[in-house]
């Protein structure tokens, strides 16, 4: 059927701004709020982002059942398709402790209309890995072998007990035909430079933009908006960053200005983005939801046991985003 083809059409992974979307819940029941999820996805798409990612840290993946994860992804896919964004790819967070469940999540992501799987390494038993790099490599290889959708490696030491994948490990994994990118939330732009250099087949891009970079063999994404330019200048391909839930246009425009060679303007915008991101980094999903609620009138709260900001805290999060939101509204 056409719906099936809409669900599973080819959506290439190209440079740009990707948004790990928030998951929203009904206020009283904490049930998944599909209406807000759909509305938020469309808002982001209309702002010009390149793709969305469900079930990242901002999407509260660890608070969702398998069925809820699929509901969120299906809702997002349908909302995009119905609003004219059928070509926009969805990345789905699929990390888990066992190889078996990770593969299962990749399959369920595909069923729900996901195009790529973002996979954290397992870490609960990390002291038993023998050694870590070998077990991690085996894990990603087994998952990539079995997954119906391509894998994006997710390097986020803060979420996995400090386990930090080196450039060597990432470069080795990049050779697998079904591993197509990495999100570096570690913030290590030296590592990012090494990974870009080792995985790029074409010549390096220039500050003035480079069409040969439009379909990189291996997509290297910064995990936070506060190091967008810092990644682009060494050949990075964009960001997958929670702050874009608040200010998608500012994130997109920062990249555009740089690729158009307007470095000083890009730098000025990057500064506002970086300052706003400081609030997002400190507040995490709690602060970003509070900021959304304060400025956009929706957002609500994270699932329990995450705390709900009191009035003073909510105001603090709102004010932390003020300058960025003013910029966003001017774009």
């Amino acid at each position: 059927s056409s719906e099936t083809s809409d669900f599973h059409m080819n959506r290439p992974l190209v440079p740009g701004v990707y948004v790990p979307t928030m998951c929203f819940f009904e206020e009283g029941t904490e049930d998944v709020d599909t209406e807000t999820i759909a509305r938020h996805a469309v808002r982001l798409a209309r702002a010009g982002v390149t793709g969305l990612a469900t079930q990242g840290s901002n999407g509260e993946a660890v608070h969702l059942t398998h069925a809820e994860r699929q509901l969120v992804t299906v809702t997002t896919r349908k909302a995009l398709n119905e609003s004219g964004y059928a070509h926009m790819p969805i990345i789905v967070g699929c990390g888990s402790q066992s190889t078996r469940e990770t593969i299962q999540l990749c399959r369920e992501a595909w069923e729900a209309g996901g195009d790529y799987a973002l996979v954290l390494p397992p870490s609960y038993y990390a002291p038993l890995f023998a050694p870590a790099s070998e077990t991690v490599t085996s894990f990603f290889t087994a998952v990539a072998d079995a997954s119906p959708i391509p894998i994006i490696i997710y390097n986020f030491p803060g979420a996995v007990g400090g386990l930090d994948l080196s450039s060597d490990v990432i470069v080795q994994l990049s050779r697998h035909p079904n591993i197509v990118g990495v999100k570096l939330t570690c913030g290590n732009t030296g590592k990012l430079a090494r990974v870009v250099a080792a995985t790029r087949k074409s010549s390096p891009s220039t500050a003035g933009g480079n069409s040969s970079q439009n379909h990189p063999d291996f997509l290297v994404l910064a995990g936070s908006a506060d190091f967008t330019l810092q990644s682009l200048v060494v050949g990075g391909h964009g960001i997958l960053a929670g702050l874009a839930n608040i200010a998608p246009k500012a994130c997109v425009r920062t990249m555009q200005l740089y690729s158009e060679g307007k470095v000083a303007e890009a730098q000025a915008m990057q500064e506002v983005v970086a300052q706003g991101d400081w609030t997002a980094i400190q507040g995490g999903v709690v602060g970003v939801k509070s900021g959304l609620q304060g400025w956009m009138g929706y957002g609500g709260h994270a699932r329990s046991p995450l705390p709900r900001p009191n009035a003073e805290q909510a105001n603090k999060w709102k004010e932390g985003f003020r300058e960025l939101v003013m910029l966003e509204k001017s774009l």
Copy 2:
């Protein structure tokens, strides 16, 4: 029906040796091996332990689906009931990141015949807790309010990104009528002494045993076998320790000797246990399974991506348990 009553009969939490049982898998498929799970449970019961715990770290809880978790607990419950151990309690690991899923796991544990829920605090979003002790307290209170079975707090900083519950927090939580104990895997016996002192209503036990301690108001368990006596001497009530999968009788006998006032003999046995535990601590679920396979002829491997020991490693794990197994066989 009688089966239902068997499932949900009253099984008090008394001092003793509790075993966080391994979960076993078919060699090729990695499917749950219910036959071995049942056989192992009965072996432990016959060795004289006080209770079992499914879905701890040794039980690879993070590698199991909800349905598999129930299968393991049901299998264990039935195996005990059918072998004359219907009165032996089963503790079920129920920790999760959301309050919602944790309560769900407690309900499923009860449905599967579990008697108590062992609950880790959530930690994925710990930097957003406000402050940690308050969010943790709210979490445990909400879970205990809703759970059909009583809660045992699981303090294991190594499994939750370093989140370490203080004696103050544990003592405060102990006042909840549905929170009945704590497993201290942190190894902090000073904390253990404070918790015992603050939660005990009767007078302290003596080295010679004390029947008034048979039904403590709040059960304080050491999380490793290598500090059994160190816990008992300050009023602790026993252990919930992975090493008992290898040497249940030695663990039980160490406690008995101490409670009979045979301190020197207890100390001598504790030394062998502590040395064997060093192998279990280093090898974790990989090493303990390897030791079981080497000495008892069953055990197999942990689920992927946990590595499988090669011949040399398997021999190292086996030898690490030799002295302890010799002791065990002599009891």
Copy 3:
């Protein structure tokens, strides 16, 4: 001269309570306050402790110059000698990052009248150790070869970036003729049991005391007062614990009661000690000094940049020690 012989007489390392003494400073200048240092040392000696340790964490070793370290040790030695405690040994903290400076500190400790050197492993460059256990072993061996006084290994992961010496490493080092003990501040009493078992030549002691333990070949000390009994019950030889600055008699009496076989009384006293220690653990040198000032009228403040408690905080530290101080005064 007789003074020299007083300085360097043979002072065996026997089981008991050792106190890592505070270092005191003049209020305005932060210069070393030798008068209070001397008075404090004599107070502790009169309370019946077995030995003192200068330049531990409580002694603010990292805040002192080499000359000040010697001044503190000389002052302590002279105060003891002049008060009739010439036989009381002094342990001197001598850890440093280079083998060279560590040996120098050991020599200076000896010159100042120190009897034993307490040595932390270096950790600044720990990621470059190859591997850690080998470099640490080489370090301790080189220091013990060159030091004029015997070495006590100091295992305190919290002070050295998490570097935690295993029982294997400690047991291996214990074979060096000039390495005579270990202070375990890690709180790992399972490790303590393994080290005691492996380093003891005679038979294990009983709860009723054992004279054959009076001169152990390798002294194993708990690093905090809150696990005194927990160490003794597996053959440990005592404590080297900051809390004894506040309540030396209670610490000594806890050990005595246990060695006299009065386990229930020892346990009751251990509870008060453990609760008081919780304040000392939280407050560290800042809280213990504040407690001393509040209850004994001396103590002052730690060197900058350590903060000075305001009135509210000072009261909190004082109250945290109330029950323990009441016990101490009753002894």
Copy 4:
């Protein structure tokens, strides 16, 4: 005298490449090798670097006495002055645990001819800080008030038990007239962007270079060579990076190419630098010395207990730098 004026002349802190120089030792005695220290300093100066820094992590500050620290700085100062580099500034590592000793080190640094003091926050008693940001701010303020030379904040969480100064704290401290810069070894280029933005008075520089940036009010330096461009693109002023001991010209040229607007060439060179830096990051002072010895014929070994590479390891370090050294020799 003219020598005194040479020692203490005004040497502004300008953007560029700063090298934390290695400290060299005689092979047998491990005594300070002043001849090699002088020779190395001159080699770096001739390669075109902007300044040197003694007593950083690469300079083994923690292995040196106060007198040796002064010897190293004096030797470096004299070597520069005698070779025509009297105007080249020297930064001196002065971090210590007490405010008192830190000020003393700043004074000694000035006496030895140092121009700026690079200061780590104290961390040994960090859990007692109240709160960390307040104690750290007090510390830096007191040091800056008393130091005869301006202070550069050194943010290197890996060296101080994870203590990581936020952009808020750094920006607040930048307002002190005697705090003139920061070295960010944390690698957090988002933080770097925030600090640059908040401390800059003039307009942002462009990729094409900007003379108004020649005397920034607050100098923001990257702590590793592998994120040079990533810092420059958001207004950073250069690097203070150990890799420049191996390849000073490549580091300098990378910056120059970028400031000349040759971004693609800068990027290509940055890739080689970043790959070489991966070896320096893994090997630390041990690997960099080994690389120097392998390629330049001098370097020797770090002080004990740092391990000495065997032949195989030495070859690994040498090969890790091959591509970079080939580039360096071509410049």
